[in-house]
């Protein structure tokens, strides 16, 4: 196994840090004084600078340094964060990403401009709010600090002497080391830290400054900071007897340091994000991160392939064992079956990631959209813990960007229009995800003006998509917006209106074997639901035989199976319909479609499949049964064959093709339409 390229490792780390910085910055827009988030941003910048310099990204380190300096001042309470500062740093963050991705390109111009912006923002801060913390007067206080570091602190690179030096910088210190925990020599591990400290420091700085000394180790240490009355400070305070660390690990008291509240009146449209507020309790998040292991996605895919092969091999074993009377062989086969089934289930769970990772990126998008459009937008995310296959998540990102942009640009009105319509000024965009029977349903909902049916219709007529005065249901009209080149926006904005986008959405969702549903009410808003199968890797399928070939029909699309009666078979020579509980369902003879050239079996079967409301029957020779289908994609050489969405490997090692339901239903509908015209 080769060692990962350190540069690549840094890039991965940097990407995470940048994300952390972005999250922090966006959270700060709701609460400019949120200390946790300020610290998070600062820590992110600091680490990025440090590791950037270590890996030779000097331009990045130098640039990040300036942002870090600015945030350091915010953190120390010298100045207060403003919307302006956050916007500049957000932009700077994007630039940092460019510096990480492409360190050798020419970045000087952008760097210089951003630094000038940053400089201006910081200067504005200085004018706006000379730190009230300082203004509160240089009243010196005696602080008593007790702290103990975890045993492995030094192994992790923390130097306690450095911490003590920093405390000395705050003011005169009295330091006493508590040696009571040092074990006997034979039990002592030289690299472990057994000493804790009692420090008394007299300083004019606020408590938060003392806490800052420990900012990078705060999470794991025990610390107690108490103020002793200034008067007593003169008296030689008796150092209390060393207490055993009675306080549990979580002793670090969270103290609301008095913060300068110089709230800038928000001149830019504010974006509110309720989920962010709810998520601002960062601790559980961090804990979760600590317990996870990072694995390159390709390895997961490889493992998935192996598991897929195992499932195939196992079903071969089962067939063999079924033919064999050996009890022991059967027992082993059953064990293997159970184990491989469990392994497959575990594997599927491994590939699942919460949609929060997907939704997260929309906060930034909405933030930027709000600035660009001048609309006030509230992004609400629901069901973020819903888990979806990793590949599905990746492929959903682009369509969702289009849909959210669309909601903001076409759906939501300007604040003035909203007021006039008697709505809240802030338009809502709700992104939600939930699971329902093997599918995940992702909904993008807004409370804007809704889809203008007449305009869609007019537009479709003028561009020749539909016949004038064609009778269309609402659903059919809404589906028109997914046609290529369709856009009702009268002016092309930066965001949307070029008519590309929605057809991309449609194509991606089709490729994911999903469906799109649109609901819209004039003046109340629209709701677009994407229904997508949970996983792309394994599906339940119905194995059928047509001529000599075997094919898999995704079981989720199968409505029912029935026998094609002889008279229907004969009658259907002219028209391919069967009547199914009083409705006519068109059917396709797969034998004809596939040109099998074999004689049909005497009793033909019909498998009725559907996508939502449309149904079509597939005539097959034999229904073999259900089959756990490990989906293998077909190579690009076969991308022109629309009838099949993929292939799978059967128990005997041969390949069966998976029928593309969407395509077949469309073909069936087309056939029906032709029949209608023919009368």
């Amino acid at each position: 196994m080769s060692f990962p390229d350190p540069i690549q490792v840094f890039k991965t780390e940097a990407a995470e840090l940048l994300e952390q910085i972005e999250t922090g910055l966006l959270d700060l827009t709701y609460d400019l004084t949120n200390k946790d988030q300020i610290d998070a941003v600062f820590r992110g910048l600091h680490t990025l600078k440090g590791s950037g310099a270590m890996f030779g990204f000097d331009a990045l380190a130098a640039f990040t340094h300036h942002c870090e300096t600015a945030f350091d001042r915010v953190r120390k309470g010298e100045v207060t964060a403003t919307e302006e500062l956050i916007s500049v740093v957000l932009e700077a963050k994007d630039h940092m990403r460019a510096l990480v991705e492409n360190p050798n390109a020419e970045h000087d111009a952008v760097s210089t401009r951003l630094l000038a912006d940053l400089h201006r923002a910081v200067e504005a801060l200085d004018k706006a709010g000379a730190a009230p913390a300082k203004a509160s007067g240089p009243k010196e206080t005696l602080w008593r600090i007790r702290f103990g570091l975890p045993r492995n602190a030094m192994a992790n690179g923390t130097n306690p002497l450095g911490l003590l030096d920093e405390l000395r910088d705050l003011g005169p210190c009295k330091i006493r080391a508590d040696l009571s925990d040092i074990p006997a020599l034979d039990a002592l591990t030289p690299s472990d830290l057994y000493i804790s400290w009692h420090v008394e420091v007299t300083t004019a700085q606020p408590k938060s400054m003392i806490e800052d000394v420990f900012i990078f180790v705060m999470d794991e240490m025990q610390i107690e900071i108490t103020a002793i009355d200034a008067g007593k400070a003169a008296a030689p305070a008796p150092v209390p007897a060393p207490q055993k660390a009675a306080a549990p690990a979580a002793a670090a008291p969270v103290v609301e340091a008095p913060k300068p509240v110089v709230q800038e009146t928000a001149s830019v449209p504010a974006v509110r994000d309720t989920s962010a507020a709810a998520a601002s309790a960062t601790d559980p998040k961090q804990n979760r991160a600590a317990e996870s292991v990072r694995v390159p996605a390709e390895r997961l895919d490889e493992l998935m392939d192996r598991v897929g092969e195992l499932v195939i091999a196992q079903s071969r074993l089962r067939q063999l064992a079924g033919r064999n009377a050996d009890i022991q062989l059967r027992a082993v086969s059953e064990d293997i079956e159970r184990l491989s089934g469990e392994l497959r289930d575990t594997m599927m769970v491994l590939r699942m990631v919460p949609v929060a990772t997907l939704f997260g990126r929309f906060r930034r998008l909405v933030h930027d959209l709000a600035r660009e459009t001048g609309k006030v937008i509230e992004l609400i995310t629901e069901g973020e813990t819903t888990e979806v296959d990793k590949t599905v998540i990746e492929r959903l990102a682009d369509p969702l960007v289009h849909l959210v942009r669309n909601s903001v640009d076409h759906g939501l009105e300007t604040p003035e229009m909203r007021r006039a319509a008697g709505k809240q000024e802030a338009g809502k965009v709700i992104l939600s995800a939930r699971q329902a029977s093997g599918e995940v349903i992702i909904t993008i909902k807004d409370d804007g003006r809704g889809i203008d049916r007449d305009r869609v219709r007019a537009k479709a007529e003028s561009s020749g998509l539909i016949q004038p005065n064609a009778a269309l249901t609402d659903q059919e009209i809404f589906q028109l917006i997914f046609q290529p080149g369709f856009s009702t926006a009268q002016t092309v904005t930066n965001l949307s209106g070029r008519g590309v986008g929605m057809d991309v959405v449609k194509r991606t969702i089709d490729a994911l074997r999903g469906t799109i549903e649109v609901a819209s009410f004039p003046g109340e808003g629209s709701e677009i639901s994407l229904r997508i199968p949970l996983t792309l890797a394994i599906i339940e399928g119905l194995l059928v035989r047509v001529g000599g070939g075997r094919y898999v029909i995704p079981l989720s699309a199968v409505e029912e199976c029935l026998e094609l009666s002889l008279e229907e078979d004969l009658r259907s020579r002219g028209r391919s319909f069967i009547s199914l509980r009083d409705s006519l369902v068109p059917f396709i003879r797969l034998r004809d479609l596939f040109h099998t050239g074999t004689k049909p079996d005497p009793y033909q079967k019909v498998v009725v499949i559907s996508t939502g409301s449309e149904r079509v029957g597939l005539v097959v020779d034999q229904i073999i049964g259900d089959h756990q289908t490990v989906i293998k994609s077909m190579s690009k050489l076969h991308h022109d064959v629309a009838t099949f969405s993929g292939a799978t490997i059967l128990g005997d090692g041969s390949v069966a093709l998976i029928l593309d339901v969407v395509h077949l239903v469309a073909a069936g509908q087309q056939q029906e339409a032709q029949m209608r015209i023919a009368g």
Binding site: S635, K636, L637, V641, A642, V655, L657
Partner: protein
């Protein structure tokens, strides 16, 4: 177009004056493929016909748990089908199609040997007097009285893809 394809054929030799190839027979002609592309040589496997696909890549097969297309070069060269014999083999090669590494099986009548061809004995296919499409051939290499055909897979597979 043909200019570009000529360029491709030049690059076959870019590694040096010699090229290591695997030679095989199809319909009485000897072909050669760069040995580095070859992943495996298989006995005939059960294949699955893909209805609606072009005859040139009319079926797929199971190669160690992967579904790979099986290409029949003789159809690209308009050769007559030959009967399967005890010598029939499938050569699995790795080939980039639209920047995606793809495994492709190639049906052959017989696999001969791995050998080294010298650039000096190679020549571009004549543009007239040949029954095959010249752009499907990178070059011809003389060996004894006969010659070996180096097919231009890029051209063959991209045609089958576009057409």
């Amino acid at each position: 177009m043909s200019q570009a394809l000529r360029k491709v054929s030049e690059t076959v030799w870019s590694e040096g004056e010699e090229l290591e190839v695997l030679t095989f027979d199809i319909a009485g002609e000897t072909f050669a493929l760069e040995a580095v592309r070859v992943r495996e040589i298989l006995d005939l496997l059960p294949e699955t016909v893909v209805p609606g696909a072009k005859a040139f890549v009319g079926s797929v097969l199971n190669f160690r748990g992967r579904v790979i297309p099986l290409a029949d070069i003789r159809l690209a060269f308009g050769m007559a089908a030959t009967k399967q014999t005890i010598d029939s083999r499938i050569i699995v090669i790795e080939f980039d199609i639209e920047d995606e590494a793809t495994l492709i099986g190639i049906r052959t009548d017989k696999v001969n040997e791995v050998t080294t061809l010298a650039k000096t004995s190679s020549e571009l296919p004549p543009s007239v007097g040949m029954k095959w499409r010249p752009d499907f051939i990178s070059c011809l290499v003389k060996r004894g009285n006969d010659f070996i055909i180096l097919p231009n897979l890029q051209a063959i597979f991209s045609t089958s893809h576009d057409g």
